[in-house]
C-alpha cells in the first residue's frame, strides 16, 4: 500500500513539474514540443506586420492656417485660403481616381497646426503619398518641390529614423511622384518647375511626398492668371490627380488575389 502511494506521489510530482515547465516555455514564446506531423519543425505563424502603406490613401496638407496667413498673394487673398481652396478641388479629383483622401485641415482653425503635427498625422495613416500645398505670388506656373535629402537605403539607415531626415528612405519614390505629376501638368499645357528644397514638414514624412506650389500663370508679358483663379486651380488639380494615379500604377500595383482573404483591403506590404 505504501509502495502504491509512493508511486502515485511521484507521478503527481512529475506531472506538476512538467506542467510548470510547459507554462514557462509558452510564456517565452518557444515551442515546447515537436508537432505530431512526422517530426518536422513548424514554426509558429509570424505576426502579420503592419502594411508599409495603403495604396489608395492620400494625405493632403493645405499649408498655413490659423494665425499663420502665409504669403500675401493679392490685396484680398492670403496663402492659407488659397491652399485650402485648392485642397478642396484636389480632393474630389483624387476621389474620382479611386483614392481615399485625408486632409490635415478642412477649415481655418483658430490655432495653427505645427508642421510636426501635420507630419505626425500623415505618418500615422501610412498613405501612398503626401501632398503639401502652397501658393506664391512670385514665379510662374506650378512648382513641384521634393526633399533635397540624399536617398538612403532603409537597411543601412537603421531602424530608427531621424525625425527631420525621415524622408531620406523614400526620397527616390518622391522624385518619381514629382516626375509623374510634372508629366501630367505638361500634358495639360501648364508650365511646371521641378525643385528640391527643404520645406517643413516634407523632410519628416515617411511616405513619398511632394510640395505643390501654385504660382501665377503668366500667359503674356501683361496678362497673368493668379493662383486664386478657380479655373486654373481646377486644371492643376485634375493633372495632379492623374499624376498620382499614374504613380500608383507604376509603383504600387494592386495586391495579388493570392494574398488571402485576411489581407486588409488596399494594404500593400
Amino acid at each position: 500500500m505504501t509502495q502504491i502511494r509512493k508511486y502515485i506521489l511521484t507521478l503527481v510530482m512529475f506531472l506538476l513539474a512538467g506542467g510548470i515547465r510547459s507554462l514557462s516555455a509558452q510564456a517565452q514564446g518557444t515551442p515546447t514540443s515537436l508537432p505530431a506531423t512526422g517530426g518536422a519543425v513548424q514554426p509558429a505563424p509570424p505576426l502579420k506586420p503592419p502594411p508599409a502603406f495603403y495604396r489608395n490613401l492620400i494625405v493632403l496638407d493645405p499649408a498655413h492656417g490659423g494665425r499663420d496667413n502665409g504669403a500675401q498673394l493679392s490685396n484680398s487673398s492670403v496663402e492659407k485660403d488659397v491652399t485650402l481652396a485648392f485642397a478642396q478641388r484636389l480632393r474630389p479629383a483624387l476621389t474620382a481616381q479611386g483614392f481615399t483622401v485625408v486632409t490635415t485641415r478642412d477649415s481655418d482653425p483658430p490655432d495653427e497646426l505645427t508642421t510636426d503635427q501635420r507630419a505626425g498625422t500623415a505618418n500615422h495613416v501610412r498613405p501612398l503619398a503626401c501632398i503639401v500645398i502652397h501658393a506664391a505670388a512670385t514665379g510662374s506656373g506650378v512648382h513641384i518641390v521634393s526633399s533635397p535629402l540624399p536617398p538612403v537605403e532603409t537597411k543601412t539607415y537603421g531602424r530608427a529614423l531621424a525625425w527631420n531626415k525621415a524622408q531620406a528612405s523614400v526620397v527616390a519614390m518622391s522624385l518619381r511622384l514629382a516626375n509623374e505629376a510634372g508629366l501630367m501638368l505638361e500634358a495639360a499645357h501648364l508650365p511646371v518647375l521641378m525643385l528640391r528644397a527643404s520645406v517643413p514638414p516634407v523632410d519628416s514624412l515617411i511616405c513619398p511626398a511632394i510640395a505643390i506650389e501654385l504660382a501665377p500663370l503668366k500667359q503674356s508679358s501683361s496678362k497673368e492668371t493668379l493662383a486664386t483663379d478657380p479655373g486654373y486651380q481646377q486644371r492643376v488639380a485634375a493633372a495632379i490627380a492623374e499624376g498620382i494615379a499614374s504613380f500608383r500604377t507604376h509603383n504600387a500595383p494592386p495586391p495579388q488575389a493570392t494574398q488571402g482573404a485576411g489581407a486588409r483591403p488596399g494594404a500593400v506590404q
Binding site: A137, R176, L185, V192, L193, V199
Partner: protein, 209 residues
Amino acid sequence: MIPRYQRILFWSLVGCILLMGAFMLRGCREAHRRLTALNDVNPIAAPTTAAKEEVALYIASDADATIRSVRSEVALPQDPSLRARTLLEQLLAQYSQPDSAHRLQSGPSVDDVFFVTDTSRANAGKVILVNLRGSFADNHPSGIEVEQLTLASIIGTLHAAFPEFTEVRFLVDGQPRSTLSGHASLDQSYSLADTTIRPPIPSEAATQP
C-alpha cells in the same frame, strides 16, 4: 500813455530774454566743445585700400528657377568675416535692382558672418554662420521657390569665396528661426556646394521604379 510800471516790466522782460539767450548760446558752445574733445582724430590703424577683385556671385532667376555663376569685380576687405559680409551684401544688393530677375527689397541684409569650427563632431567641420537681419527676413517675398533661390544663391557664393568651409547655418537677429519667410527651412545646416542649378524636366524614363 503807457504807465511807467508797464514800461519797466516790458524792458525787464526783454532783458531777461537777452540774458537767457546768451546763457543758452554759451551752453551750446560748451557742449560742442566737450563733444569734439571726445572725438579722437588720431589714427589708430593704418588706412587700407581694398583693391577690387574678381569674385563669383551666384545669381538667381525666379522665372526658370535657375542659379548661374556671374563674375563680378568687388572691393573686399581682408578680414574674412568682413569680407564675407561685404560679399553677401553685394550679392543681395543686386536683387534690389529694378531689372533683377529675383526681386528682393533693398536695405541692409546681413548683420554678421562668423567662421567657426565645430569640434563636437568626429571630423571637425568648418562652419560659416550667417546672421541675417530680421528686417531682411521679414520683408523677404514668401514662397518656396523664391526663398530657396535666395538661400542657394548665398550658399553658392559663399562656397566659391570660401571653399575650405563645408557648412553654413543661418540665424536671424542672432536667434534660430524655423523658416526664412514661412517656407524654406533655416533650422538646419546646409552643405556648402556649387549651387548652380537648372531644374530637371519631367521625363517618361523616370516614371519606372
